[in-house]
């Protein structure tokens, strides 16, 4: 029973708001420092204060040979992330569909798939590296590293797909079959369009998890580094704000990927509703 009649918020509101503010500061503050310092003047150092403002270090990123093979690492990380994204979407969609029916060993397979989330990434990386060495197969970003990344993205994709499919009423597929659709038509015309937002979510996860993955890439990429490994290598041998510039550039790329995905969803939706409005208007004019 509330004894006070004022409309004020309870003290817990302020306490929780304070904790949340600290959390946000902790989350974005350090990153903001990196982004700001990446615009350090040409004569500035690795720490505050800023000695002028310039985009000098962004240029240095691509000029200086000793910063490492950023362009090369980038040309491996992006295709790798795209392959991981594609495989994750296809496999987790297929697995999601398979797990809709009960089959023998479903529980076991599920736990085996999920267990690789628990295995420490570095251990997995060492294991895959060793296995490839034993088999005499040279590790490469497109073979061993791809496998290592999938061991990380697939369980995530699977869990998201399960959540999506658990909300998808079975009667949609039954209705499609009832209306004469083949299994394939039911999948393409009904199931995939309905779960499309979830599939885009899985794709984003697949891309970003692979694109930033460090531990699982460590001993599996072979002679040529992916971007996170290249950045790590750079931190040990270069000490210029070019490092910060690199952080800013890679973050921007991640954001661009997400923004492209989200705007494409929004565009599809607004396109659909515009079409609908246009048709409604045409029909009103016609009648």
């Amino acid at each position: 029973m509330a004894t006070h009649t004022t409309e004020g918020r309870p003290w817990t509101f302020y306490a929780l708001a304070g904790i949340f503010t600290l959390f946000v500061m902790f989350l974005y503050g350090p990153m903001a420092c990196v982004y700001i310092l990446s615009f350090q003047g040409p004569n500035g150092g690795l720490t505050f204060p800023l000695n002028g403002v310039s985009t000098h270090w962004f240029g240095a990123l691509f000029r200086q040979e000793r910063t490492g093979d950023i362009a090369g690492a980038f040309s491996r990380s992006v295709p790798l992330a795209i392959i991981v994204l594609t495989l994750t979407v296809i496999l987790s969609l297929a697995a999601g569909l398979a797990f809709r029916r009960r089959f023998l060993g479903a529980g076991l397979i599920f736990y085996v798939a999920i267990a690789s989330l628990i295995v420490p990434g570095l251990v997995l990386s060492v294991g895959i590296g060793l296995a490839f060495q034993m088999l005499g197969i040279p590790p490469r970003w497109y073979s061993s590293a791809l496998g290592a990344h999938l061991s990380w993205t697939l369980p995530f994709g699977l869990l998201i797909m399960f959540a999506i499919f658990s909300r998808l009423s079975r009667s949609y597929e039954e209705a499609a079959r009832d209306l004469g659709a083949s299994t394939w038509q039911s999948l393409c015309y009904v199931v995939i369009p309905i779960v499309l937002p979830g599939i885009i979510g899985v794709a984003l996860f697949g891309f970003t998890l692979s694109y930033d993955e460090f531990p699982r890439s460590w001993l599996t990429v072979g002679p040529n580094n992916t971007l996170p490994l290249e950045i790590w290598a750079m931190t040990t041998n270069i000490t210029s704000p070019a490092l910060y510039a690199l952080g800013t550039v890679t973050t921007v790329i991640s954001f661009v990927v997400i923004a492209v995905a989200l705007t494409s969803i929004a565009m599809i939706q607004s396109h659909r509703s515009r079409q609908r409005l246009a048709r409604e208007r045409a029909m009103r004019a016609g009648s």
């Binding site: 949609y172 009832d178 209306l179 009904v190």
Partner: protein
């Protein structure tokens, strides 16, 4: 234009693991019939519908449509169309594309299938909603779209899974009338699953009363209501009082039944004539009973009790008597008869009826004795 289909279930059974949902039923639904499968939830009626549709495969037995065993055929090739309980309209498609879905699946080009879908929408008075998506529709509108989407397949048999249960009372009555009209116009077979007794008798040519995977009675609405086969059917259909007693004598074509602590019932002998000492169930319609305020008098085809509840229903008044140790006995009096000499709560009264209104339940108690009534003699 539309060809009605005959549905014939032959020894059809379905079990889910250990549970027997449908226990070897035989049912013939003649072409062009409006058939209602009626029963409480879990009685197997939806499973039967889904086996006819092809969404469930019988564990044993056959499902025949126009004489052809369709077990194993995909749902789209049976000449059936199903309207799902939640309508299952595709949320990403507009109404016209939902309705055109069957044509799309069979490869009809877009302009042609849209044109046909628009015609079908006009038939269900939904032409103005062609470009809406299902989320923008009310329950009744969704149902019309679902109906149009099913009918565009030119089905011989339309299967409806509790089609009215999601609607409010007013809409339910309206759609009920429309379904019946639609079935008459199309002339095709409708199989409609419901748990609502008034819905079944208002709509159906053939009412199939089910319980625990069995058919208790399959007959016309009038027969199921006025001549229930078992105590279960009588209770489920409502409007009846069920009494059980022991046969004390049979003479001159009259059976005398002793009701424990409740008096005696006499009725014209049935075939086969029950043996003395046998337990017989009878039913008496609530609206064929009269009330007398004096408790003394004729004890045959009469029963005394205290008034436990009085409910005014408009055209009639429902008077519930508390019987001696038995289940409640309900009398529906026409309002004029009730108000001419009203009874009150707690009054001791005598209900009486004529021997001609006693209906012996030849099927006995039924498989599950009494699903809804409480207390047992």
């Amino acid at each position: 234009m539309h060809q009605p289909g005959e549905v014939d279930l032959v020894n059809c059974a379905k079990s889910f693991g250990e549970t027997l949902a449908v226990d070897g039923i035989n049912l013939k639904i003649p072409a062009g019939t409006y058939c209602c499968l009626l029963g409480p939830s879990g009685c197997g009626k939806t499973t039967i519908l889904r086996m006819i549709a092809g969404h469930e495969t019988p564990t044993s037995g056959e499902v025949r449509i126009d004489g052809e065993n369709v077990v194993g055929l995909p749902p789209g090739r049976r000449g059936t169309a199903m309207m799902f309980q939640d309508y299952a309209l595709f949320p990403h498609l507009t109404c016209v594309d939902n309705v055109a879905f069957n044509l799309k699946a069979s490869g009809v080009p877009k302009p042609k299938r849209r044109e046909q879908a628009h015609e079908m929408l006009a038939r269900v008075q939904m032409a103005a909603f062609a470009d809406r998506v299902p989320a923008q529709l009310s329950g009744g509108q969704k149902q019309r779209i679902a109906l149009a989407r099913a009918l565009i397949t030119n089905p011989r048999v339309l299967l409806l899974d509790e089609p009215l249960s999601a609607l409010d009372e007013f809409l339910r009555l309206q759609m009920r009338g429309e379904l019946r009209r639609m079935q008459r116009d199309l002339g095709i077979t409708f199989v409609h699953v419901t748990h609502t007794q008034p819905e079944a008798i208002a709509l159906a040519d053939l009412v199939v009363v089910m319980d625990h995977g069995h058919i208790e009675q399959a007959a016309s609405a009038q027969d199921v209501y006025t001549k229930p086969l078992t105590a279960y059917v009588a209770r489920f259909m409502g409007g009846q009082n069920v009494l059980a007693g022991r046969v004390s004598a049979v003479f001159n074509g009259v059976v005398v039944l002793d009701l424990p602590e409740r008096g005696r019932v006499e009725f014209a002998a049935i075939d086969p004539v029950p043996r003395t000492g046998a337990t017989v169930h009878i039913s008496v319609r609530r609206d064929r009973i009269h009330l007398a305020k004096q408790t003394v008098g004729e004890r045959v085809n009469a029963l005394s009790g205290r008034v436990r509840a009085i409910e005014y229903q408009g055209a009639w008044v429902k008077v519930t008597l508390e019987g001696a140790g038995g289940e409640d006995f309900v009398v529906n009096l026409p309002d004029s008869e009730f108000f001419a000499d009203p009874v009150n709560f707690g009054d001791a009264v005598r209900a009486h009826w004529s021997a001609g209104d006693v209906h012996p339940l030849s099927g006995g108690a039924g498989r599950t004795d009494r699903p809804y009534a409480s207390g047992q003699n």
